[in-house]
Symmetry: C2
Subunit: 430 residues, 2 copies
């Protein structure tokens, strides 16, 4: 790349507009960082008649993607259209024409990241997507650069601000899920249709992207075992508190030997763990590397400015790489074969809450069933429940997911067990 | 810089040895990142006869610094000798000869950072020193790059692992300072002479470096108001717990308008603040930027491997910058004039613990004296103390340091006040 680098922008919505503004405002700073001046020379839009909040010279606007993809002067394409198609096709064509790509497209990365990364590597192009995960935290850059000579074994994250806000309010104010969700919607922290956030799908996409990068394995969003927070109750949260835990929607990506597990589910985190204190709309990603040990990055999860800033930061990296002649080399190419752990290989501590008949020998029978399933107890809490029953809360030592599932099935066949109220994964603590 | 970059290394102690090892082990990775192969061509040592844990070709070793400083082929000097002199002179001479410098020398940076940064800028050279602060957290890089288009207004850090370990044990196990210090010394977490850690001097040096970088002001370590942890008692910690606070040795750098305050002192942190949960030898740096908002970086504070890794990461940046032709541009040149806040301009909440005569009207008199000093109360806790006295704990709303100091002086003149037990700054919470 020479003194001037030309950029094609696909999409001129909120993020696209932010990118145009930042490139204009920070010309001098960008030159200081890259030694080049950057110019957005073409912008792909859908509707040329739409009113826009910024002025862009009409000659730059086009509705034809080929005006970007086949323009030899354009060296980098920024894709902020969103959606799977046609974004996927455009990006693949851009690689075919030797262009580097920066995208903020979480859905696309989580569904086709593997394919895109392979094509980029094949063509010696860069593909960066910092803005797709936890906008305000430069986590992807850190995973790639900070751990480049380390082996990451675990990534644990609060990567969805909406659900973290809801759980924080439920915990601090003792309000039920539905009420807090309504309030979050009124404040604009939750969408009118909150499914993608509340059911953990958004978090699952981000965890798939993080796991792909951290473990060099092509993980897709449907490889992620995913459970949302809509069934979390005040009782669960209260009992958790009593036992020293905070309820969080936690994404976990772990690898042991060459097998990987990735999940998103409501989880009790020991209060002593740094991630337990991450509240409101904040995000945090905790990374464990064999050499470096524990690190955590905390910051705002999203927002227009952080997202556009993340895109710009990727753009700077691409331009630098190009001058250094190292494009396509820093890529987290998913070179390991994907091998997902079976439920027998996934180990964790679990919190189980049961309503049982309050009679002697109940705990003994349940404990025996746990032992038969190779589950041992760490903590037990029993409280009266109504006149004749008791509420029994058990925290196990580390056990396989398969054992826990078997135990939960079998324990419900006991006539002394009235109801299985809940079961959550437990993280942190000794 | 061409295909091969030659490096001079000053010092072959623990960190120097680590650097030599890493450069050898990660040749391929370094090439991938920089597009160049890196070679340590000369090493400055004190004693040629000393036995070393790695083999280095004897021709590379020298006791004459000029063999590095005046070698035209050497483009980067890594200084890991430690100490102020002769390191300072060597680095200045290296800049005179157009060489870039990477150093891990915290003492030197905190005492002469301003001078070194100015000389580097004058000569168009890079000076990087990530390893001097919180080895395992790439905090300097983040402050420079992540906040390059933002304005940092506050940096708050736990930047000394030894004192954090001691305070964590005191808090969790209820043991007195002296005992925990002895144990820490036995475990190797504290030095035989623990003064630099325990009295906050090490933390003060790191905060001076962070403030210089974050605020573009030439801060020295003796600009930092510094108090250690040797007088923190179990009673303080217990009362703090009762009020929802955790005791930490906190470095604070704040700017308002163009005035700056930097301090290191034992501080009560509200349990809801993410930094309150940073325990054991871990470090964390919390940065508040006007655009990005709150971010925090958490990780291991020191260690041989993290320190050498940080040196290598700086080295990669220097080599990249050189190829991009942007050396000396990313520097945090201290271009603002240094204006320290007066005690009238430093505002915080304070925790004050007094032993008072247990008679009616005592609290009223003390509250009146506070009001006269423009201090208002947020929390009060009173408990019996012996037969005739009471222990009075007050947490104030935000007040100036000058007011608090005046109040503490005047309150001790009251005959009803038997003893001023302690006074700590309070951070976090509403």
């Amino acid at each position: 790349m020479n003194g001037k680098v030309k950029i094609g922008l696909m999409g001129l919505g909120t993020v696209g507009t932010g990118v145009v503004r930042l490139v204009e405002s920070f010309q001098e700073d960008l030159f200081k960082q890259t030694g080049s001046s950057l110019e957005i020379s073409r912008i792909l839009i859908k509707n040329p008649d739409k009113k826009r909040s910024i002025y862009v010279h009409p000659d730059k606007l086009t509705t034809n993607p080929d005006d970007l993809i086949y323009d030899d002067e354009i060296e980098v394409v920024i894709e902020v259209m969103g959606g799977i198609e046609p974004a996927r096709t455009y990006i693949l064509e851009a690689f075919e024409n030797g262009k580097h790509v920066v995208t903020a497209n979480k859905d696309l990365l989580a569904a086709h990241g593997d394919e895109l990364l392979r094509k980029a590597a094949e063509k010696g192009c860069d593909l960066f997507y910092e803005a797709s995960v936890a906008g305000g935290i430069p986590i992807l850059k850190t995973v790639v650069e900070g751990f480049s000579s380390d082996r990451i074994t675990q990534i644990m994250g609060i990567v969805n601000g909406t659900t973290n806000y809801i759980l924080t309010k439920m915990t601090q104010e003792g309000l039920p899920f539905e009420q807090v969700l309504r309030e979050a919607q009124e404040l604009g922290y939750a969408e009118p249709d909150p499914t993608s956030d509340v059911e953990g799908l958004d978090a699952a996409r981000k965890m798939a992207i993080l796991a792909t990068l951290g473990f060099h394995v092509g993980m897709k969003w449907d490889d992620v075992a995913c459970k949302g927070i809509s069934e979390v109750t005040q009782e669960d949260i209260r009992y958790g508190k009593q036992l020293g835990y905070t309820m969080k929607l936690i994404g976990i990506a772990k690898r042991d030997d060459d097998c990987v597990e990735v999940s998103v589910e409501p989880t009790f985190v020991a209060n002593s763990h740094p991630i337990a204190n991450v509240n409101d709309v904040f995000n945090a990603v905790y990374v464990y590397g064999e050499a470096v040990g524990e690190t955590m990055f905390y910051g705002p999860g999203a927002g227009e400015l952080p997202t556009a800033t993340a895109v710009l930061s990727d753009l700077v990296t691409v331009v630098k790489n190009s001058k250094l002649g190292i494009n396509g080399r820093e890529m987290a190419f998913p070179y390991h074969e994907k091998r997902l752990k079976s439920p027998e290989q996934i180990f964790a501590k679990y919190f189980v809450r049961l309503i049982v008949q309050d009679e002697s020998g109940v705990l003994a029978r349940i404990a025996k069933l746990m032992a038969e399933n190779e589950i041992s107890l760490e903590k037990v809490l029993q409280e009266p429940y109504g006149k004749e029953d008791a509420e029994l809360i058990i925290v196990t030592h580390s056990a396989s997911k398969a054992s826990i599932e078997r135990f939960l099935e079998e324990v419900q066949e006991f006539h002394i067990v009235k109801e299985l109220k809940s079961c959550y994964r437990v993280e942190g603590g000794e």
